[in-house]
């Protein structure tokens, strides 16, 4: 009889654990959503830095090839809202449509997060997309671009820490 009761208790416990894993609590969902909003806002901030660099890019004393390389790096992350022109494709190779870009796909996944582990995994994918741009900027050899790269790196690092923060898993 005792083994049967023990097995029953174990079964109830395991069912409760499985249910909790499949159905996150309302509080956990709220925390994950709040973090998802912060990640999205940080991405918007990071893209603001990229836009700022773009606005000053052609005023910098940089070889045209280096300026184009930066723009191609941006395009590989963001894509374009309409199919890229022949000139752009000739300079950068195939450019995805914005809706199919890595960043948009990762951000779209972010909409569905309801738990902290899924948020952290998805936020990691979102932020990973910025790495090539950060490298391109910080290793450009130009003070302005390097400064912007550092700002972008700071944004990404702090956002990653925010997504991994204990607040989310509390």
């Amino acid at each position: 009889m005792k083994p049967l009761i023990g097995a029953l208790i174990a079964a109830i416990f395991l069912t409760a654990c499985a249910t909790a894993a499949v159905n996150p609590s309302a509080d956990q969902t709220q925390r994950a959503r709040a973090q998802a909003v912060r990640v999205a806002d940080s991405v918007t901030t990071g893209l603001g830095i990229v836009t700022q660099v773009g606005q000053t890019l052609d005023t910098l004393s940089l070889p045209a090839a280096q300026r184009t390389a930066f723009d191609c790096a941006v395009l590989s992350v963001t894509g374009t809202s309409v199919p890229a022109s022949a000139a752009v494709t000739a300079a950068c190779g195939p450019v995805p449509l914005a809706a199919q870009s890595k960043l948009t796909q990762a951000l779209t996944l972010l909409k569905t997060v309801s738990t902290c582990p899924s948020l952290q995994a998805t936020a990691g994918s979102v932020l990973q997309v910025f790495e090539p741009l950060i490298v391109k900027l910080t290793q450009s050899g130009n003070a302005t671009l390097a400064m912007a790269g550092t700002a972008l790196q700071l944004t990404v690092s702090l956002t990653r820490q925010l997504a991994e923060s204990a607040t989310c898993s509390a």
Binding site: D41, L47, V74, L154
Partner: protein, 69 residues
């Protein structure tokens, strides 16, 4: 000498400070209790804004390439 004007340098520093302030606020907010429930639509609105910003940055980059001789 550094390839940027004073106005550009000031703008970048200002943007960096704004970014740092926004992130500091976000960290503080992250430590606070979530008080107002966030619905999926509100989350989606923030994410859609980021997606729109990405498309805009990409379109601007493509335009710059096309405008270069």
């Amino acid at each position: 000498m550094l390839g940027l004007t004073i106005v550009q340098a000031v703008e970048l520093i200002r943007q960096g400070m704004t970014t740092a302030q926004a992130l500091a606020d976000a960290v503080r907010a992250g430590r606070a209790q979530v008080t107002a429930p966030l619905g999926p639509d509100e989350v989606a609105a923030h994410i859609d804004a980021a997606i729109a910003a990405a498309a805009s940055a990409g379109d601007a980059a493509a335009q710059r390439i096309e405008n270069r001789p």
